[in-house]
């Protein structure tokens, strides 16, 4: 029996504490212990990107990050970021372009796209594809996802707002 650790973190804007086994991944902790089902489990090897979450402002693989490592860190999932509204133009664009079907990859895709928009806002389609190559989608064939991200990049460059899919 390995010793549990006490950890404290800022999660989606709230401070939480827990006693956890060191081997527990961040994504399992979020999903199983806290009921945050936004990030998903795909491969558990870091290849598929379904488990992507944000730690200290950067995307990471939730399956390649231990909950104990999150002690003192700031964690954000798609749920928290949606509440803050920081993903709204991406989410609108995804809906407009049918960039999701089953939705399994979507949480990870949105977080990866958000980091692209922040760090490489001048990306072209090829660069978008390279960036999201770490997020597998089995449904859409990626084209619509690239379209959605492209629309957001162009809108932001123009200072425009992305049109909502449904009337307010």
């Amino acid at each position: 029996m390995k010793h549990k650790k006490q950890i404290t973190m800022m999660l989606n804007g709230k401070q939480i504490s827990a006693d956890i086994e060191p081997r527990r991944h961040l994504v399992d902790f979020l999903r199983e212990d806290l009921g945050l089902k936004g990030p998903h489990l795909g491969c558990e090897q870091g290849a598929c990107g379904a488990c992507t979450v944000r730690v200290n402002g950067q995307i990471v693989r939730g399956c390649l990050y231990l909950a104990v490592q999150a002690d003192g860190a700031t964690i954000e999932t798609v749920e928290g970021l949606t509440e803050q509204g920081v993903l709204s133009d991406l989410q609108e664009a995804f809906l407009r372009h049918n960039a999701l079907q089953c939705g399994f990859c979507t949480s990870g895709m949105l977080l990866a796209a958000a980091e692209l928009i922040e760090h490489q806002p001048k990306s072209n389609r090829e660069q978008i594809r390279q960036w999201i190559s770490g997020n597998y989608c089995r449904c859409t064939g990626y084209h619509s996802i690239v379209n959605a991200i492209m629309e957001v990049l162009e809108a932001r460059a123009d200072g425009r707002k992305v049109k909502p899919v449904t009337a307010a």
Partner: protein, 284 residues
């Protein structure tokens, strides 16, 4: 799959990290970025009884210029290298190579030191460290020692790091004004393990090659320099005919090792293709 149970301790400084490593020996694994280690543990291909987290060890952090060398701490992440102005200025080969490493989420956590210490034959940093003539700074219970990159990678997944030592940093000579570089990598999909790769650095004097370092990766068990092709190019002006001769020499001298994606013959062919591209880029 879930990892087997283990204990976890976070070292506060380098001395403590080394002491913990000595204390637990084979039962312990060091964790920095964890991008290779945690995948290994998830698959239960390793079942250590304790992880020693070194991410708080300040002696392993930071990018700085010290005299005429660029110092890259072992804990510097791939993303930090990708975005560093100091590196863009003093070791631009690394800036060009960084986006080829896996994917952004991996790069945000994965470290310079981790990549070097594992010495995966398909990894980018080992070959880059060879091309840049880097020096590895290592610390263990016996103190600090420095090893040239030329002597650091000895066999498949085997470096000169002893079980009780930690890689602290690398020191890289600052790029000179007459230095040019090229980084080439072929992979089936962006972010995949390289099929073949090349990190090349050339210094010229009056249009002629002064020094030439051509480090291939994913061709053999360790990153491999084309020493005969290098010697051939020294003292000469690069032109199309010379490139063809250098390519032929490199293909002859490097003993390629097949892997699951490519045969020996394909690797031999591709390394020549990459060398041609790199030399063509560095011709002017």
């Amino acid at each position: 799959m879930k990892a087997a149970a283990f204990d976890y301790v976070k070292a506060k400084n380098l001395v403590e990290a080394i002491a913990l490593l000595s204390e637990h020996g084979e039962d312990a694994r060091l964790i920095a970025g964890g991008q290779t280690l945690l995948a290994t543990l998830n698959l239960r291909l390793s079942e250590p009884s304790i992880l020693i987290d070194i991410t708080a060890v300040s002696e392993l952090k930071g990018i700085s210029v010290q005299g005429n060398m660029l110092r890259i701490g072992a804990l510097v992440t791939h993303t930090e290298i990708e975005g560093s102005d100091l590196i863009a200025q003093h070791a631009p080969l690394l800036t060009e190579a960084a986006p080829h490493i896996a994917h952004r989420a991996i790069r945000n956590l994965g470290t310079w030191g981790g990549s070097l210490a594992y010495g995966d034959p398909a990894a980018e940093w080992p070959a880059c460290s060879l091309a840049l003539d880097a020096i590895m700074v290592i610390q263990g219970p016996g103190g600090i020692r420095k090893v040239s990159a030329n002597d650091f990678f000895i066999d498949l997944y085997t470096t000169t790091l002893q079980a009780d030592e930690i890689l602290v940093a690398s020191e890289i000579p600052l790029a000179s004004s007459n230095q040019s570089h090229s980084f080439q990598e072929l992979a089936r999909r962006h972010g995949d393990y390289a099929a073949v790769g090349l990190a090349a650095v050339i210094r010229k004097e009056k249009g002629k090659v002064q020094t030439c370092r051509l480090a291939f990766f994913s061709v053999a068990a360790i990153p491999t320099m084309a020493t005969k092709a290098q010697a051939f190019l020294e003292g000469k002006s690069i032109d199309a005919a010379l490139i063809q001769q250098a390519v032929k020499l490199a293909r002859e001298e490097i003993e390629t090792l097949a892997d699951i994606t490519n045969s020996q013959e394909t690797k031999t062919h591709l390394l020549g293709v990459l060398l041609e591209r790199a030399l063509t880029k560095m011709m002017p």
